[in-house]
Symmetry: C2
DNA sequence: CCACGTTTCAAACAAATGTTTATAATATAA
DNA sequence: TTATATTATAAACATTTGTTTGAAACGTGG
Protein backbone atom coordinates (compact mmCIF):
# COMPACT_ATOMS: atom_id res chain seq x y z
CA UNK A 1 0.00 0.00 0.00
CA UNK A 2 2.45 2.58 1.16
CA UNK A 3 5.05 1.07 -1.13
CA UNK A 4 2.78 0.96 -4.09
CA UNK A 5 1.74 4.51 -3.40
CA UNK A 6 5.34 5.73 -3.32
CA UNK A 7 6.32 3.77 -6.38
CA UNK A 8 3.36 5.07 -8.33
CA UNK A 9 3.91 8.62 -7.26
CA UNK A 10 7.53 8.43 -8.33
CA UNK A 11 6.61 7.00 -11.72
CA UNK A 12 3.84 9.52 -12.28
CA UNK A 13 6.09 12.42 -11.49
CA UNK A 14 9.13 11.06 -13.27
CA UNK A 15 7.37 10.46 -16.56
CA UNK A 16 6.08 14.01 -16.65
CA UNK A 17 9.42 15.59 -15.82
CA UNK A 18 11.31 13.30 -18.18
CA UNK A 19 8.91 14.21 -20.97
CA UNK A 20 9.28 17.91 -20.24
CA UNK A 21 13.04 18.12 -19.80
CA UNK A 22 14.71 14.93 -20.87
CA UNK A 23 16.50 12.39 -18.74
CA UNK A 24 19.83 13.97 -17.97
CA UNK A 25 18.20 17.33 -17.29
CA UNK A 26 15.86 15.86 -14.70
CA UNK A 27 17.42 15.23 -11.30
CA UNK A 28 16.22 12.70 -8.79
CA UNK A 29 15.82 15.51 -6.29
CA UNK A 30 13.45 17.30 -8.61
CA UNK A 31 11.41 14.16 -9.03
CA UNK A 32 11.30 13.20 -5.37
CA UNK A 33 10.54 16.69 -4.10
CA UNK A 34 7.70 17.18 -6.56
CA UNK A 35 6.40 13.73 -5.76
CA UNK A 36 6.65 14.52 -2.03
CA UNK A 37 8.79 11.46 -1.48
CA UNK A 38 12.16 10.95 0.12
CA UNK A 39 15.18 11.16 -2.11
CA UNK A 40 16.42 7.71 -1.23
CA UNK A 41 13.12 6.17 -2.23
CA UNK A 42 14.13 6.04 -5.88
CA UNK A 43 17.26 4.02 -5.21
CA UNK A 44 15.40 1.90 -2.71
CA UNK A 45 12.53 0.97 -5.00
CA UNK A 46 14.19 1.08 -8.40
CA UNK A 47 17.88 0.64 -7.68
CA UNK A 48 19.18 3.41 -9.91
CA UNK A 49 18.13 6.25 -12.14
CA UNK A 50 18.67 4.10 -15.21
CA UNK A 51 16.27 1.51 -13.87
CA UNK A 52 13.75 4.21 -13.09
CA UNK A 53 13.90 5.39 -16.69
CA UNK A 54 13.36 1.85 -17.93
CA UNK A 55 10.49 1.38 -15.49
CA UNK A 56 8.81 4.49 -16.82
CA UNK A 57 8.98 3.04 -20.31
CA UNK A 58 7.89 -0.40 -19.23
CA UNK A 59 4.72 1.01 -17.71
CA UNK A 60 3.70 2.19 -21.18
CA UNK A 61 5.24 -0.43 -23.40
CA UNK A 62 4.18 -3.53 -21.51
CA UNK A 63 0.45 -2.84 -21.90
CA UNK A 64 1.02 -1.58 -25.41
CA UNK A 65 2.79 -4.68 -26.68
CA UNK A 66 0.32 -6.99 -25.00
CA UNK A 67 -2.61 -5.15 -26.48
CA UNK A 68 -1.04 -4.81 -29.88
CA UNK A 69 -0.32 -8.52 -30.04
CA UNK A 70 -3.97 -9.12 -29.25
CA UNK A 71 -5.04 -6.71 -31.96
CA UNK A 72 -2.81 -8.42 -34.51
CA UNK A 73 -4.11 -11.83 -33.42
CA UNK A 74 -7.64 -10.60 -33.98
CA UNK A 75 -6.76 -9.17 -37.39
CA UNK A 76 -5.10 -12.39 -38.54
CA UNK A 77 -8.14 -14.31 -37.36
CA UNK A 78 -10.54 -12.02 -39.16
CA UNK A 79 -8.62 -12.00 -42.45
CA UNK A 80 -7.91 -15.70 -42.20
CA UNK A 81 -5.00 -16.04 -44.60
CA UNK A 82 -5.89 -13.04 -46.73
CA UNK A 83 -3.46 -10.16 -46.60
CA UNK A 84 -4.47 -7.43 -44.21
CA UNK A 85 -4.79 -4.12 -46.07
CA UNK A 86 -2.17 -1.52 -45.29
CA UNK A 87 -4.70 1.03 -44.06
CA UNK A 88 -6.11 -1.47 -41.62
CA UNK A 89 -2.65 -2.23 -40.25
CA UNK A 90 -1.74 1.40 -39.84
CA UNK A 91 -5.08 2.26 -38.29
CA UNK A 92 -4.80 -0.63 -35.89
CA UNK A 93 -1.42 0.47 -34.74
CA UNK A 94 -2.57 4.05 -34.36
CA UNK A 95 -5.63 2.97 -32.42
CA UNK A 96 -3.52 0.92 -30.06
CA UNK A 97 -1.01 3.68 -29.55
CA UNK A 98 -3.83 6.05 -28.72
CA UNK A 99 -5.81 3.71 -26.50
CA UNK A 100 -3.15 2.55 -24.13
CA UNK A 101 -2.07 5.83 -22.57
CA UNK A 102 -5.53 7.29 -22.92
CA UNK A 103 -6.42 5.62 -19.68
CA UNK A 104 -4.20 8.06 -17.86
CA UNK A 105 -4.78 10.72 -20.48
CA UNK A 106 -1.08 10.93 -21.07
CA UNK A 107 -0.64 10.31 -24.76
CA UNK A 108 1.43 13.44 -24.97
CA UNK A 109 3.83 12.09 -22.37
CA UNK A 110 4.00 8.72 -24.09
CA UNK A 111 4.89 10.16 -27.47
CA UNK A 112 7.38 12.56 -25.99
CA UNK A 113 9.08 9.68 -24.24
CA UNK A 114 9.22 7.74 -27.48
CA UNK A 115 10.81 10.70 -29.16
CA UNK A 116 13.36 11.00 -26.40
CA UNK A 117 14.15 7.32 -26.61
CA UNK A 118 15.20 7.87 -30.19
CA UNK A 119 16.92 11.20 -29.93
CA UNK A 120 18.66 11.04 -26.58
CA UNK A 121 21.88 9.18 -26.53
CA UNK A 122 21.00 6.89 -23.58
CA UNK A 123 22.39 3.76 -25.14
CA UNK A 124 20.98 1.60 -22.39
CA UNK A 125 17.47 2.72 -23.25
CA UNK A 126 17.67 1.87 -26.90
CA UNK A 127 19.04 -1.52 -26.03
CA UNK A 128 16.35 -2.10 -23.43
CA UNK A 129 13.55 -1.18 -25.80
CA UNK A 130 15.00 -3.21 -28.62
CA UNK A 131 15.40 -6.29 -26.46
CA UNK A 132 12.03 -6.12 -24.75
CA UNK A 133 9.78 -4.80 -27.48
CA UNK A 134 11.53 -5.50 -30.76
CA UNK A 135 9.47 -8.61 -31.44
CA UNK A 136 6.15 -6.85 -31.78
CA UNK A 137 7.64 -4.43 -34.26
CA UNK A 138 9.09 -7.31 -36.23
CA UNK A 139 5.71 -8.96 -36.36
CA UNK A 140 4.07 -5.75 -37.52
CA UNK A 141 6.75 -5.29 -40.17
CA UNK A 142 6.16 -8.69 -41.68
CA UNK A 143 2.44 -7.99 -41.91
CA UNK A 144 3.17 -4.70 -43.62
CA UNK A 145 5.37 -6.62 -45.99
CA UNK A 146 2.49 -8.83 -47.05
CA UNK A 147 0.33 -5.77 -47.48
CA UNK A 148 2.84 -4.05 -49.75
CA UNK A 149 4.19 -6.81 -51.98
CA UNK A 150 5.30 -4.34 -54.65
CA UNK A 151 7.70 -2.53 -52.40
CA UNK A 152 11.29 -3.74 -52.35
CA UNK A 153 12.29 -4.80 -48.87
CA UNK A 154 14.77 -2.02 -48.38
CA UNK A 155 12.32 0.57 -49.64
CA UNK A 156 9.69 -0.61 -47.21
CA UNK A 157 12.16 -0.55 -44.36
CA UNK A 158 13.05 3.05 -44.99
CA UNK A 159 9.48 4.16 -45.56
CA UNK A 160 8.35 2.64 -42.31
CA UNK A 161 10.99 4.69 -40.57
CA UNK A 162 10.02 7.74 -42.56
CA UNK A 163 6.45 7.61 -41.32
CA UNK A 164 7.63 6.63 -37.87
CA UNK A 165 9.64 9.82 -37.90
CA UNK A 166 6.63 11.84 -38.93
CA UNK A 167 4.42 10.47 -36.21
CA UNK A 168 6.91 10.58 -33.36
CA UNK A 169 8.28 13.95 -34.36
CA UNK A 170 4.83 15.49 -34.64
CA UNK A 171 3.24 14.01 -31.58
CA UNK A 172 6.31 14.40 -29.39
CA UNK A 173 6.61 18.07 -30.23
CA UNK A 174 2.85 18.45 -30.16
CA UNK A 175 2.60 21.14 -27.55
CA UNK A 176 5.04 23.50 -29.23
CA UNK A 177 3.53 22.94 -32.66
CA UNK A 178 0.02 23.31 -31.33
CA UNK A 179 0.93 26.66 -29.82
CA UNK A 180 2.23 27.92 -33.15
CA UNK A 181 -0.74 26.57 -35.07
CA UNK A 182 -3.14 28.07 -32.59
CA UNK A 183 -1.45 31.44 -32.77
CA UNK A 184 -1.29 31.45 -36.58
CA UNK A 185 -4.56 29.80 -37.49
CA UNK A 186 -6.64 30.32 -34.40
CA UNK A 187 -7.81 26.77 -34.27
CA UNK A 188 -7.04 24.38 -31.47
CA UNK A 189 -6.25 20.94 -32.84
CA UNK A 190 -7.07 17.86 -30.86
CA UNK A 191 -5.00 14.74 -31.04
CA UNK A 192 -7.86 13.09 -32.84
CA UNK A 193 -7.86 15.75 -35.53
CA UNK A 194 -4.14 15.43 -35.85
CA UNK A 195 -4.36 11.70 -36.36
CA UNK A 196 -7.00 12.32 -39.00
CA UNK A 197 -4.60 14.68 -40.72
CA UNK A 198 -1.79 12.16 -40.40
CA UNK A 199 -3.70 9.23 -41.86
CA UNK A 200 -3.81 10.24 -45.55
CA UNK A 201 -0.27 11.56 -45.37
CA UNK A 202 1.09 8.33 -43.98
CA UNK A 203 -0.81 6.21 -46.48
CA UNK A 204 0.37 8.38 -49.35
CA UNK A 205 3.92 8.17 -48.12
CA UNK A 206 3.86 4.39 -48.02
CA UNK A 207 2.28 4.23 -51.48
CA UNK A 208 4.44 6.86 -53.12
CA UNK A 209 6.02 5.91 -56.46
CA UNK A 210 9.42 4.34 -56.30
CA UNK A 211 12.36 6.71 -56.67
CA UNK A 212 13.32 7.21 -60.29
CA UNK A 213 16.87 6.43 -61.26
CA UNK A 214 17.24 9.70 -63.11
CA UNK A 215 17.04 13.25 -61.81
CA UNK A 216 19.54 12.57 -59.07
CA UNK A 217 21.73 15.57 -59.47
CA UNK A 218 22.52 16.15 -55.87
CA UNK A 219 25.76 16.89 -54.13
CA UNK A 220 26.89 13.99 -52.07
CA UNK A 221 28.30 13.89 -48.58
CA UNK A 222 29.62 11.03 -46.54
CA UNK B 1 46.01 32.58 -35.12
CA UNK B 2 46.31 30.85 -31.80
CA UNK B 3 42.91 32.14 -30.82
CA UNK B 4 41.26 31.11 -34.00
CA UNK B 5 42.90 27.74 -33.75
CA UNK B 6 41.62 27.18 -30.24
CA UNK B 7 38.15 28.43 -31.06
CA UNK B 8 37.92 26.23 -34.12
CA UNK B 9 39.21 23.20 -32.32
CA UNK B 10 36.64 23.68 -29.58
CA UNK B 11 33.82 24.05 -32.08
CA UNK B 12 34.95 21.08 -34.13
CA UNK B 13 35.14 18.84 -31.10
CA UNK B 14 32.00 20.17 -29.44
CA UNK B 15 29.75 19.63 -32.44
CA UNK B 16 30.83 16.03 -32.75
CA UNK B 17 30.34 15.25 -29.07
CA UNK B 18 27.06 17.13 -28.89
CA UNK B 19 25.80 15.21 -31.88
CA UNK B 20 26.87 11.92 -30.34
CA UNK B 21 25.66 12.40 -26.79
CA UNK B 22 23.47 15.46 -26.52
CA UNK B 23 24.17 18.68 -24.73
CA UNK B 24 23.64 17.87 -21.09
CA UNK B 25 25.49 14.59 -21.45
CA UNK B 26 28.58 16.28 -22.86
CA UNK B 27 30.80 17.97 -20.30
CA UNK B 28 33.13 20.83 -21.00
CA UNK B 29 35.97 18.73 -19.67
CA UNK B 30 35.23 16.07 -22.23
CA UNK B 31 35.26 18.64 -24.99
CA UNK B 32 38.40 20.44 -23.89
CA UNK B 33 40.40 17.33 -23.19
CA UNK B 34 39.55 15.79 -26.56
CA UNK B 35 40.28 19.09 -28.25
CA UNK B 36 43.58 19.31 -26.37
CA UNK B 37 42.64 22.72 -25.02
CA UNK B 38 42.50 24.16 -21.54
CA UNK B 39 39.22 23.84 -19.70
CA UNK B 40 38.89 27.56 -19.09
CA UNK B 41 39.21 28.27 -22.80
CA UNK B 42 35.52 27.61 -23.36
CA UNK B 43 34.41 30.20 -20.84
CA UNK B 44 37.09 32.58 -22.05
CA UNK B 45 36.16 32.43 -25.72
CA UNK B 46 32.46 31.71 -25.54
CA UNK B 47 31.40 32.91 -22.11
CA UNK B 48 29.34 29.90 -21.13
CA UNK B 49 28.30 26.46 -22.22
CA UNK B 50 24.99 27.81 -23.48
CA UNK B 51 26.80 30.25 -25.73
CA UNK B 52 29.04 27.48 -27.00
CA UNK B 53 25.97 25.47 -27.98
CA UNK B 54 24.55 28.45 -29.83
CA UNK B 55 27.89 29.07 -31.53
CA UNK B 56 27.94 25.50 -32.76
CA UNK B 57 24.55 26.02 -34.35
CA UNK B 58 25.44 29.42 -35.75
CA UNK B 59 28.38 27.97 -37.59
CA UNK B 60 25.97 25.80 -39.57
CA UNK B 61 22.90 28.00 -39.72
CA UNK B 62 24.53 31.27 -40.69
CA UNK B 63 25.94 29.93 -43.97
CA UNK B 64 22.78 27.93 -44.53
CA UNK B 65 20.38 30.85 -44.22
CA UNK B 66 22.58 33.09 -46.32
CA UNK B 67 22.86 30.51 -49.04
CA UNK B 68 19.20 29.56 -48.90
CA UNK B 69 18.15 33.19 -49.25
CA UNK B 70 20.35 33.40 -52.32
CA UNK B 71 18.79 30.26 -53.74
CA UNK B 72 15.30 31.60 -53.17
CA UNK B 73 16.28 34.91 -54.74
CA UNK B 74 17.53 33.06 -57.79
CA UNK B 75 14.34 31.00 -57.99
CA UNK B 76 12.09 34.05 -57.77
CA UNK B 77 14.15 35.69 -60.47
CA UNK B 78 13.96 32.70 -62.72
CA UNK B 79 10.22 32.13 -62.30
CA UNK B 80 9.53 35.87 -62.48
CA UNK B 81 6.08 36.05 -60.94
CA UNK B 82 5.06 32.51 -61.81
CA UNK B 83 4.59 30.15 -58.92
CA UNK B 84 7.59 28.00 -58.21
CA UNK B 85 6.63 24.32 -58.40
CA UNK B 86 6.59 22.42 -55.14
CA UNK B 87 9.17 19.89 -56.28
CA UNK B 88 11.56 22.68 -57.17
CA UNK B 89 11.14 24.28 -53.77
CA UNK B 90 11.69 21.05 -51.92
CA UNK B 91 14.66 20.09 -54.06
CA UNK B 92 16.20 23.49 -53.57
CA UNK B 93 15.92 23.24 -49.84
CA UNK B 94 17.34 19.74 -49.85
CA UNK B 95 20.21 20.80 -52.05
CA UNK B 96 21.06 23.68 -49.75
CA UNK B 97 20.85 21.54 -46.65
CA UNK B 98 23.20 19.05 -48.26
CA UNK B 99 25.65 21.54 -49.71
CA UNK B 100 26.40 23.65 -46.68
CA UNK B 101 27.83 21.08 -44.29
CA UNK B 102 29.27 19.06 -47.15
CA UNK B 103 32.26 21.35 -47.07
CA UNK B 104 33.30 19.84 -43.79
CA UNK B 105 31.68 16.53 -44.67
CA UNK B 106 29.55 16.72 -41.59
CA UNK B 107 25.97 16.46 -42.80
CA UNK B 108 25.39 13.75 -40.27
CA UNK B 109 26.43 16.06 -37.46
CA UNK B 110 24.30 18.88 -38.81
CA UNK B 111 21.15 16.80 -39.00
CA UNK B 112 21.74 15.27 -35.62
CA UNK B 113 22.10 18.73 -34.14
CA UNK B 114 18.86 19.80 -35.77
CA UNK B 115 17.16 16.78 -34.28
CA UNK B 116 18.52 17.61 -30.87
CA UNK B 117 17.41 21.20 -31.19
CA UNK B 118 13.87 19.95 -31.51
CA UNK B 119 13.87 17.12 -29.05
CA UNK B 120 16.05 18.37 -26.24
CA UNK B 121 14.40 20.67 -23.80
CA UNK B 122 17.03 23.44 -24.01
CA UNK B 123 14.52 26.27 -24.16
CA UNK B 124 17.24 28.79 -24.88
CA UNK B 125 18.21 26.95 -28.05
CA UNK B 126 14.73 26.88 -29.52
CA UNK B 127 14.36 30.56 -28.80
CA UNK B 128 17.75 31.33 -30.30
CA UNK B 129 17.02 29.42 -33.48
CA UNK B 130 13.56 30.89 -33.81
CA UNK B 131 14.84 34.44 -33.38
CA UNK B 132 17.83 34.15 -35.64
CA UNK B 133 16.61 31.86 -38.37
CA UNK B 134 12.82 31.99 -38.27
CA UNK B 135 12.62 34.47 -41.15
CA UNK B 136 14.04 32.18 -43.79
CA UNK B 137 11.60 29.46 -42.83
CA UNK B 138 8.76 31.96 -43.02
CA UNK B 139 9.87 32.97 -46.49
CA UNK B 140 10.06 29.36 -47.59
CA UNK B 141 6.62 28.67 -46.15
CA UNK B 142 4.99 31.45 -48.10
CA UNK B 143 6.53 30.15 -51.32
CA UNK B 144 5.23 26.70 -50.54
CA UNK B 145 1.85 28.29 -49.99
CA UNK B 146 1.82 29.67 -53.49
CA UNK B 147 2.88 26.31 -54.84
CA UNK B 148 0.05 24.49 -53.08
CA UNK B 149 -2.96 26.78 -53.43
CA UNK B 150 -5.42 23.94 -52.91
CA UNK B 151 -4.17 23.13 -49.44
CA UNK B 152 -5.90 24.87 -46.55
CA UNK B 153 -3.40 26.90 -44.56
CA UNK B 154 -3.63 24.76 -41.47
CA UNK B 155 -3.27 21.60 -43.49
CA UNK B 156 -0.13 22.90 -45.17
CA UNK B 157 1.31 23.96 -41.84
CA UNK B 158 0.92 20.51 -40.43
CA UNK B 159 2.17 18.73 -43.53
CA UNK B 160 5.30 20.82 -43.62
CA UNK B 161 6.01 19.71 -40.11
CA UNK B 162 5.16 16.12 -40.98
CA UNK B 163 7.80 16.02 -43.67
CA UNK B 164 10.19 18.00 -41.52
CA UNK B 165 9.79 15.25 -38.96
CA UNK B 166 10.50 12.59 -41.55
CA UNK B 167 13.67 14.23 -42.75
CA UNK B 168 15.11 15.23 -39.41
CA UNK B 169 14.17 11.98 -37.76
CA UNK B 170 15.67 9.89 -40.52
CA UNK B 171 18.85 11.83 -41.09
CA UNK B 172 19.50 12.48 -37.43
CA UNK B 173 19.21 8.81 -36.60
CA UNK B 174 20.96 7.87 -39.77
CA UNK B 175 23.82 5.90 -38.31
CA UNK B 176 21.65 3.64 -36.23
CA UNK B 177 19.18 3.07 -39.05
CA UNK B 178 21.96 2.48 -41.52
CA UNK B 179 23.42 -0.19 -39.29
CA UNK B 180 20.10 -2.02 -39.14
CA UNK B 181 19.49 -1.68 -42.85
CA UNK B 182 22.97 -2.89 -43.63
CA UNK B 183 22.61 -5.88 -41.38
CA UNK B 184 19.16 -6.81 -42.70
CA UNK B 185 19.52 -5.98 -46.38
CA UNK B 186 23.23 -6.01 -46.88
CA UNK B 187 23.29 -2.76 -48.76
CA UNK B 188 25.06 0.32 -47.56
CA UNK B 189 22.98 3.40 -48.27
CA UNK B 190 24.61 6.70 -48.97
CA UNK B 191 23.06 9.97 -47.98
CA UNK B 192 22.45 10.64 -51.63
CA UNK B 193 20.49 7.42 -52.02
CA UNK B 194 18.53 8.23 -48.94
CA UNK B 195 17.57 11.64 -50.28
CA UNK B 196 16.49 9.97 -53.48
CA UNK B 197 14.31 7.68 -51.44
CA UNK B 198 12.95 10.59 -49.48
CA UNK B 199 12.02 12.72 -52.47
CA UNK B 200 8.96 10.82 -53.77
CA UNK B 201 7.78 10.17 -50.25
CA UNK B 202 7.91 13.83 -49.29
CA UNK B 203 6.19 14.92 -52.48
CA UNK B 204 3.48 12.31 -52.03
CA UNK B 205 2.98 13.39 -48.45
CA UNK B 206 2.49 17.01 -49.41
CA UNK B 207 0.10 16.06 -52.20
CA UNK B 208 -1.89 13.47 -50.29
CA UNK B 209 -5.69 13.78 -50.46
CA UNK B 210 -7.28 15.88 -47.76
CA UNK B 211 -8.52 13.98 -44.72
CA UNK B 212 -12.06 12.78 -45.17
CA UNK B 213 -14.61 13.83 -42.61
CA UNK B 214 -15.90 10.30 -42.23
CA UNK B 215 -14.10 7.21 -41.02
CA UNK B 216 -12.89 8.90 -37.88
CA UNK B 217 -13.68 6.23 -35.39
CA UNK B 218 -10.77 6.80 -33.09
CA UNK B 219 -10.58 7.02 -29.37
CA UNK B 220 -9.73 10.49 -28.27
CA UNK B 221 -7.28 11.69 -25.74
CA UNK B 222 -6.57 15.18 -24.47
C1' DC C 1 2.37 -7.43 22.93
C1' DC C 2 6.31 -8.61 20.62
C1' DA C 3 9.49 -9.55 17.02
C1' DC C 4 10.67 -9.11 12.36
C1' DG C 5 10.67 -7.64 7.72
C1' DT C 6 9.59 -3.53 5.04
C1' DT C 7 9.56 1.15 4.12
C1' DT C 8 10.78 6.00 5.21
C1' DC C 9 13.87 9.51 6.37
C1' DA C 10 17.76 12.81 7.27
C1' DA C 11 22.35 13.00 6.64
C1' DA C 12 26.46 12.28 4.54
C1' DC C 13 29.42 10.79 0.60
C1' DA C 14 32.14 10.83 -3.40
C1' DA C 15 32.24 12.30 -7.88
C1' DA C 16 31.34 15.48 -11.54
C1' DT C 17 29.79 19.76 -13.21
C1' DG C 18 30.20 24.89 -14.98
C1' DT C 19 32.56 28.80 -13.70
C1' DT C 20 36.05 31.97 -11.78
C1' DT C 21 40.61 33.53 -10.46
C1' DA C 22 45.31 34.58 -10.41
C1' DT C 23 49.36 33.83 -12.82
C1' DA C 24 52.15 32.71 -16.67
C1' DA C 25 53.03 32.80 -21.52
C1' DT C 26 52.63 34.93 -25.82
C1' DA C 27 51.77 37.98 -29.35
C1' DT C 28 51.36 42.98 -30.80
C1' DA C 29 52.62 47.62 -31.40
C1' DA C 30 55.25 51.77 -30.26
C1' DT D 1 63.34 46.44 -26.61
C1' DT D 2 59.69 47.67 -23.90
C1' DA D 3 55.00 48.28 -22.73
C1' DT D 4 50.53 46.43 -23.40
C1' DA D 5 46.86 43.73 -24.58
C1' DT D 6 45.57 39.02 -25.62
C1' DT D 7 45.51 34.20 -24.78
C1' DA D 8 46.75 29.97 -22.17
C1' DT D 9 47.12 27.45 -18.00
C1' DA D 10 46.59 25.30 -13.43
C1' DA D 11 44.14 25.55 -9.44
C1' DA D 12 40.37 26.36 -6.75
C1' DC D 13 35.33 27.27 -6.04
C1' DA D 14 30.68 26.57 -5.27
C1' DT D 15 26.91 23.59 -6.83
C1' DT D 16 24.76 19.79 -8.17
C1' DT D 17 24.61 15.14 -9.16
C1' DG D 18 23.45 9.91 -8.06
C1' DT D 19 24.14 6.91 -4.45
C1' DT D 20 24.84 4.96 0.24
C1' DT D 21 24.25 4.65 5.19
C1' DG D 22 22.21 3.86 9.64
C1' DA D 23 18.62 4.74 12.41
C1' DA D 24 13.71 5.61 12.93
C1' DA D 25 8.89 4.58 11.82
C1' DC D 26 5.69 1.42 10.24
C1' DG D 27 3.08 -2.57 9.44
C1' DT D 28 2.26 -7.57 9.94
C1' DG D 29 2.04 -12.18 11.60
C1' DG D 30 2.84 -15.02 15.67
Amino acid sequence: MAQNDTVTRILDTAEVLFAERGFAETSLRHITSKARVNLAAVNYHFGSKKSLIQAVFARYLDPFTERFHDVLDELERRYQGDVIPLEVLLDSMARTVLEVPAERNSLKVFMRLLGLAYSQAQGHLRRYIQEHYGSVFTRFSSLVRQATPDLPDAERFWRLHFVLGTVIFTLSGLDALRDIAEKDYGEHVSVRELVDRLRPVVVAAMQAPLPSAEANHFPTAS
